[in-house]
Subunit: 669 residues, 2 copies
């Protein structure tokens, strides 16, 4: 089967005479191995039936003779069909290709160097199928051991085109196998120059009739979660601290202007709102139901919803599949009834939904505890409500238009929401926190469609072996599931980040600044230390730090005193005032070598005057290049930083976030 | 020379007869190689003078005969001295040992696996000489490829004892070579079981008479920088924003109670203080001089100091060796004159010194711009003044007793200060930011002496190839200078961190909590997301997450509702109140499996009441185990976090800092 896709095994032929063997060898290319072919000889070596490394026709003939003689002597009764003449693979580099079906992301291709690189160092790269030539090239360049392919120790380099072609062949094979694919292991493949030979291949297939369903994003009725004009809270409570109390508080006592109906059979009124014994008792139409009661009664609630024509339910209650056992079944039942009732569910086990335009607010965090972000271009989707809440609070000043905590995603998931947000005019940036994806292929499909129009930033935790163990194929542990996720994210055009802080940092940059045209950055600061730290963090990323053009250098040198350093990074020392920064920032903005301008400020330095606020606001308005600022310190630094951010210029307070923001807005290729 | 230290090359002997060769081979062990020995034969193979892989006495005899016959036939005139019988090294693992003289840290030992591991992946470990058995073991365990030594693919493991012994041999060799050591390269060494053979060795020595001076820490007169009762400011200025104005402001207009003398020949009074034309004109004694004028006049100032019996000078002015050229010489002159005058210098190119007890404050950051930390147990030493200032501000609430920005360290350096702080009763924790060490051996010597009594936390930036390129030996780039620094820091007992935030995080933990007895941590939270993230960050560190004892588990299960997870990490869900945390924290504090207790709080969750402040304060007081807390959010979270920190319990706002704090207070071994 592998041959069908153009994979080449070591070539061979069978000869019955010495001359024929020599001719065959000449056609295959030297050196060759000769091996007796006989159904009666199990251990060829034991009877002298193998000769390796025959380097000429002469040697082949002699070897043929020796084998014939040996076998005649040691196994006189064996039926001999001939002698196989086999191409011996020259010295090359061993690589591995693997196809497997990842639990989250479906069929994936793996590439790595053979032996210790894969087995011991897990130095492999992944992409989901189908793999494009661009993907394949990236997979090859991603692995740490790639210098081995580029002409290590004076060896001629291995053709990247040939490798790309191998990866594409494997991808095609995987696509053709479709749902039958269990795993394919081409291991090792020896490569040299523009040649390859597959030394071993293992293919595991599933029965013909298997169908692996891939769900499609479904954004029907999602609008209702953000624009409902009336909300019923099932489980509304008058006890402080109860979820049913906090949700009601968020809806009743703040800016939401729709109707709110507490539902609780034991009360007649809560927070000044008339209370109803059940949904059906509410005389008016209801757009959205918030459920804070036990999951076991949810199926009945859903049927009531269907009867009342309600299409949107947020289930805050926990007690779902995170507990295993019966709860798993219960969630499945809820899912089925929801489908039957044409009801969409957000949750269960979530903190709710918030829309900063309609002020529809079902979060069970009371306002005193959690600041609701102002209206703005960022949408936050989060598997963990509390992690998402913290990210939302940290972006309160930039603005969050929509916040969805989807928890156990019985129904609505990231993919549905991303598809919905693609058409939402308020959303310009999508920030997403996930721990694991239930339907990775659906997620990728949605992201791939939306990412070219709206940036999607994802922090995926649960990466470690401990938190999410994943193994692949026979070769053991292959880098864990995050390797697969990282590859899949890159394919889909997702911007990956490594912490909540970075998620907020990149979302902030994307909300406040244009995306960068390239990944070449320039720094300028009155304190060099943080620039040194940034250079350390840039190592191994796609960010680069080009030299400034000679024009920029002379422009700076003309104005700056001799002890300022007019190079990249620009060091304007503790003596710098806002005019010095102004000159520097303008020069960097206008330097064609620079895609991202990154000023860091030591606001503690007394020489730096507050006109810097205007300088930055002007630069940010005037140029179409992103500017990302940084500073660290106490109250004065915080104050002026907030003023600057208020003018549309992002300001980071750790070097890590500053660099992460640059990584996030710079294109990967 | 290598033999003298017990390194073994492949063994061999010369035989003149077949029987002798066979006997020799039997003693060496099979297989062996036979090679003709003749001063007249250059290419032994060409004359059939080499036979490899002789596996028995019989084969040796036959090979001996063939060689003799071949040589007789093909080189009849050659003088033949015999046939050398050489041990052939079995299949084993290639390792590398290297000795070199690092620019910062002096003689170092490097260990790595051969081939691609070292050359391509830079998977090597370093320690400074002499290397102890503990160091050697750590070096072996640090490298990523170590599974190759532990019995990879069914191979028998390589003896760690033997490897440790090899490293110790190399260390002894390096120590004996002393100042003559340039580099030693034992590459490759093949190891298997408890055996080794050095296949190649290169030794480069310096001339006999080279002496590499190693400076000793010198803390004489340092007291004066912190307790001076009178300060003269040379270059005092009445212009806002000038360094000479800000320093005077810090001394005159705040809490410093000593005498302050502005020195400026063009003024009679500044800030209400009588001004003097020069130091000599000051009629009273002066303890400390702050210099904000050009470096060129410093030698004269130092002579004035000597005349007035002044031993302490802080030089704020830049323009030193950071500019290269003549400035380098000027710094050397200043250094010489300072030694001659018995004057200690902090700086140049620094922001000054601050003591929170005496309030002696020569920082040129005015108080409005930079908060002065309250008095407390942390001393901050920083090469970059502005980076240090930000760290100091972030520790303002914990307390910083002494802050020293030493800049270009013309004289006083980290090592001098660490030695001084060792005896300082106010200092319990030393936090240090360095970009590069001028005298690494001096620094390590000081740290090694002090670290067992007072923890020393170091953030060293300037790690990347770009920022600090370092190469070693002939094998190319060997992991860069931070590899050497990391090894040296570990040997010296320094706690290494990776960012300013982590420097502050670990210093905070050490200041507020006891050190951990082990590295086993337990987490508890009402929001599981951050615990998942922490588990990801723990991967590859020395931190572990043990199961709780059965006693702890049943203790928790008795009290908790069934949907709380009574395991490590403990998940108390969004329903948790302070009583739930109290039960959990006490159980973890009393669990013998746990060394560090790490609660994370979602303060946004309404169920969590404010009695948590008392719960944490009590736990921190009552138990001798460190407790490290975390939370993320907005103003409410910040407020309650500050209250909790005020009660002596550290609270971190990023998962990274939370985990870093645990790493910092947990012992490495």
């Amino acid at each position: 089967m592998c041959r069908k896709y153009g994979f080449i095994a070591p070539r061979s032929g069978i000869a019955t005479e010495a001359d024929e063997a020599a001719g065959l060898a000449a056609r295959l290319g030297f050196p060759v191995a000769l091996k007796v072919v006989s159904p009666d000889i199990l251990h060829k070596t034991d009877v002298g039936g193998v000769e390796l490394g025959c380097g000429s026709e002469q040697e082949v003939k002699a070897a043929f003779a020796r084998i014939t003689e040996n076998v005649r002597r040691k196994a006189p009764d064996a039926r001999v069909e001939g002698v196989s003449v086999e191409e011996m693979v020259r010295e090359g580099v061993e690589v591995i290709l693997g196809l497997t079906r990842d639990q989250q992301f479906g069929p994936v291709l793996m590439f790595g160097l053979g032996g210790v690189f894969t087995e011991l160092l897990h130095d492999v790269s992944f992409r989901t199928l189908p793999v494009s030539a661009v993907d394949a090239r990236a997979m090859i360049r991603e692995i740490e051991g790639r210098p081995l392919l580029e002409g290590y120790r004076g060896q001629p380099p291995v053709s990247e085109e040939m490798l790309v072609d191998l990866l594409m062949k494997a991808s095609r094979m995987g696509m053709d196998l479709g749902d039958r694919l269990e795993s394919v292991d081409l291991n090792p493949i020896v490569v040299w120059g523009d040649q390859h030979r597959v030394l071993d291949a293992k293919v595991l297939l599933q029965p013909e009739d298997r169908v692996v369903p891939v769900a499609q994003p479904n954004s029907s009725h999602l609008e209702g979660f953000f624009s409902a004009r009336s909300v019923a809270v099932v489980g509304a409570s008058s006890t402080w601290g109860k979820v049913g109390n906090s949700v009601l508080d968020s809806l009743v006592n703040h800016e939401y202007r729709g109707r709110v109906y507490p539902v609780n059979p034991t009360k007649t009124e809560i927070m000044g709102q008339k209370c109803y014994p059940n949904l059906s008792a509410i005389p008016e139409p209801v757009d959205l139901v918030a459920v804070t009661v036990a999951l076991s009664v949810v199926p009945d609630i859903l049927r009531e919803c269907a009867a009342k024509g309600i299409h949107n339910v947020v289930i805050h209650s926990g007690g779902g599949k995170e507990l295993g056992g019966e709860s798993l079944e219960l969630e499945a039942t809820i899912k089925r009834v929801a489908r039957e009732s044409d009801v969409r569910i957000v949750g269960c086990n979530c903190i709710g939904v918030y829309d900063s335009e309609t002020k529809l607010d079902t979060l069970f965090q009371v306002h005193e505890r959690m600041v609701r972000p102002k209206n703005g271009p960022i949408a936050i989707l989060t598997q963990s409500g509390t992690v998402g809440a913290a990210v939302a609070e940290s972006l309160a000043d930039v603005g969050v238009c929509k916040f969805v905590s989807y928890g156990n995603r019985i129904d609505v998931d990231e993919a549905d929401l991303i598809s919905y947000l693609a058409e939402d005019p308020s959303t310009r940036v999508i920030a997403c926190y996930v721990e694991g994806l239930a339907e990775g292929q659906k997620f990728l499909a949605a992201a791939r469609r939306v990412a070219p129009r709206k940036p999607i930033v994802v922090f995926k935790s649960g990466r470690s072996q401990r938190a999410a163990r994943a193994s692949m194929s026979h070769t053991g542990f292959f880098g864990g599931s995050y390797g697969v996720a990282a590859g899949a994210f890159q394919q889909a055009g997702i911007i990956p980040v490594d912490s909540c802080e970075e998620l907020a940092a990149v979302a902030r940059a994307l909300a406040m600044q244009p995306r960068a045209r390239g990944s070449r950055l320039a720094m300028i600061s009155n304190g060099a230390g943080t620039m040194v730290q940034a250079m350390d963090l840039m190592e191994g990323t796609h960010l680069t730090m080009p030299p400034l053009t000679p024009e920029t250098v002379s422009r700076l040198k003309e104005v700056y005193p001799p002890f300022y350093l007019a190079q990249n990074p620009v060091d304007v020392t503790g003596s710098a005032n806002s005019a010095d920064y102004e000159v520097g920032i303008e020069a960097l903005m206008e330097d064609p070598n620079v895609d991202i301008v990154m000023p860091w400020f030591v606001f503690q330095d007394t020489a730096l005057d507050e006109r810097i606020v205007e300088v930055l606001a002007k630069a940010s308005e005037q140029y179409d290049k992103p500017i990302l600022c940084g500073s660290m310190g106490g109250p004065y630094t915080d104050g002026i930083s907030q003023t600057i951010q208020g003018r549309g210029v992002p300001m980071y307070h750790t070097v890590r976030e500053w660099v992460a923001a640059a990584k996030g807005i710079a294109p990967r290729q």
